[in-house]
């Protein structure tokens, strides 16, 4: 009886994994199949041409700008905030409420952040439709993600590590940076990767704060178009699935490259610490 049940559950586990992997392979396969014909050196490194046949370099540059700026602000802010909530704050009602709030905020549709950005950063702070306005909006979008994943990672650090370190006479801060953060680093990094995914994948909020100018940005105060916004506009306006998929290929490769970098850094950090 128990064996049949075990076998059944085991079968379900295998089947679920097969379904997940199958679907995801199907999607990536579809994007590559539809888009690969468009990919060429000129497509990736050529300047955009409104008459068609041009490249997507301006969108790639814009995307990289938004990722870099939002992460530079959101990562330290988010990690330190999570450290405070998890390690320093007196665990009680207030902290629970803050935690509950950040948790809920990960669920706010990004279009609302976008609208806030369009009114607050673009109009009130007079940044105009620009890369910087979009990046600040994105910072707020990923902040809850980073706080939450960092907290989750800090939670998984066994209490014995903390106690052991403190018992050796170290201060709280020393324990934090010598023991807790290093062992939580992989979790924190996966949070950052999730954030990059959210930034790269965001379209609605960027659409409202950075605009849709299809040209190489002069500076971070220029209005510009990210890859995702480009792929969205291509689908919406010209209905060109192949071109949208081609932009998708570039996006996937970009995300892959960032992931590899993050994994590499994470490995280096771990080696250095132990």
């Amino acid at each position: 009886m128990r064996q049949t049940k075990d076998a059944l559950l085991r079968g379900l586990l295998w089947a679920s994994a097969a379904v997940s992997v199958g679907i995801l392979v199907l999607i990536v396969g579809f994007i590559f199949y539809k888009g690969i014909g468009y990919i060429s050196f000129d497509f990736i490194f050529g300047d955009y041409s409104p008459t068609g046949g041009g490249g997507i370099l301006p969108m790639i540059v814009t995307t990289i700008y938004t990722i870099a700026i939002s992460l530079i602000i959101a990562t330290p802010l988010g990690i330190l905030a999570a450290v405070y909530l998890q390690e320093y704050a007196k665990q009680g009602r207030l902290v629970n409420m803050i935690r509950f709030a950040t948790e809920s905020l990960t669920g706010i549709p990004s279009i609302i952040y976008g609208l806030f950005g369009a009114v607050f950063f673009v109009a009130t702070l007079k940044l105009g439709m620009s890369i910087i306005a979009a990046s600040l909006t994105l910072t707020i979008i990923v902040l809850p993600v980073i706080i939450r994943t960092t907290e989750e990672a800090l939670k998984t650090v066994p209490a014995a590590y903390r106690e052991g370190s403190l018992a050796l006479g170290t201060t709280k801060l020393q324990t934090l940076y010598k023991v807790i953060l290093p062992s939580a680093m992989p979790g924190i990094l996966s949070g950052i990767i999730l954030s990059i995914g959210r930034i790269v994948g965001e379209s609605a909020a960027i659409f409202l704060t950075a605009g849709t100018v299809a040209a190489m940005p002069d500076s971070i105060f220029s209005s510009a178009r990210t890859l995702t916004v480009h792929s969205y506009l291509v689908t919406q306006e010209s209905g060109d699935i192949g071109l949208a998929a081609a932009v998708g290929i570039v996006l996937i490769v970009l995300i892959f490259a960032i992931n590899m970098t993050a994994t590499f850094i994470s490995k280096k950090l771990n080696k250095a610490d132990f």
């Binding site: 041409s49 409104p50 008459t51 370099l57 790639i60 540059v61 990289i64 700008y65 990722i67 870099a68 992460l71 530079i72 990562t75 330290p76 990690i79 330190l80 109009a123 105009g128 439709m129 801060l173 934090l176 940076y177 010598k178 953060l181 290093p182 659409f207 409202l208 605009g211 849709t212 100018v213 299809a214 040209a215 190489m216 940005p217 002069d218 500076s219 220029s222 209005s223 506009l233 291509v234 689908t235 919406q236 306006e237 010209s238 209905g239 060109d240 699935i241 960032i258 970098t261 993050a262 850094i265 950090l269």
Partner: protein
């Protein structure tokens, strides 16, 4: 503070890697700023946008002027032009009275709206009255129009779209009368894809987007082509507008408009699939 430094460090490494990846372009962009002259900010209709981009690219090549085109929808473009966020707004519908009171408008081109269906649909002619009946839900089966016995799936643009406003005004129904279960698509391309892949569907798109993946309807027996718009026999037509306040229009902006109205500019209009003025 070592690990904190490390956190910063890894962020810094990550970002410097990212920036290094695009370092070359930054320089390019930098030099462009130095040599570049004024910037004209244009925003508005997604139907006018592709055409405006093409015009801007050509004009920028000839002069030193930098032109930013943002496709955010007619109403938003008009609002931007009124409150000065943009130098020029683009609209694919006529201005409302209160908007017209605050803005100068220039017609830069005409555009036709085409009623489209799946290529396999045998129905090729509709009267304006039938179009209205379809979109308001009085007629719900292609059989009633001489086609196959199939449900009609209506595809419309979103409430507030310049194309939808113009279409409804000409056909003669209000937003509230649109059949409830109509699919609402948020762009010309989206309507085209939806109709091209659905045998039941009927929708409307701008002339610029017509290709062989969809079939077009003659309205009241008139073929949807540019000539018929110009001789006023095809009724589903609308202007493409550039709008601006008197004070916001710079000399460069005026030059750009002059360029569009010149015969060179109108050649681009025609090549883009819209209808030239002359």
């Amino acid at each position: 503070m070592k690990v904190l430094k490390k956190t910063w460090l890894s962020a810094a490494i990550l970002s410097s890697l990212l920036l290094a990846a695009c370092g070359g372009d930054e320089q390019e962009a930098g030099s462009a700023t130095n040599s570049g002259g004024e910037t004209i900010a244009i925003s508005g209709s997604t139907s006018v946008g592709p055409l405006a981009e093409k015009l801007a690219a050509e004009h920028s090549e000839q002069t030193d002027v930098n032109i930013e085109v943002n496709q955010i929808g007619s109403s938003a473009g008009i609002t931007n032009a009124i409150n000065g966020v943009s130098d020029i707004g683009m609209s694919s519908r006529d201005l409302k009275d209160e908007e017209a009171a605050q803005l100068d408008q220039t017609i830069i081109a005409y555009d036709g709206i085409v009623v489209v269906a799946h290529p396999s649909n045998p129905v090729k002619d509709l009267t304006m009255e039938q179009v209205k009946q379809i979109f308001t839900g009085e007629v719900t089966n292609w059989k009633q129009l001489g086609g196959k016995d199939m449900e009609i799936v209506v595809v419309s643009r979103e409430d507030g779209s310049g194309s939808r406003d113009a279409f409804q005004e000409i056909v003669g129904y209000e937003s509230g009368q649109l059949i409830r279960n109509a699919i609402v698509a948020s762009g010309n391309g989206n309507i085209k894809t939806t109709v091209a892949t659905n045998k039941h569907a009927v929708g409307f798109i701008s002339f610029e987007y017509v290709d062989e993946t969809i079939s077009t309807f003659n309205i009241n027996g008139v073929e949807p082509i540019a000539d018929n718009v110009l001789n006023n026999s095809y009724a589903l037509a609308r202007p493409f507008l550039f709008v601006h306040t008197e004070e916001a229009l710079t000399q460069q902006g005026q030059q750009f408009i002059d360029f569009i109205l010149s015969s060179d500019g109108q050649d681009i209009v025609e090549a883009a699939g819209a209808i030239r003025l002359d």
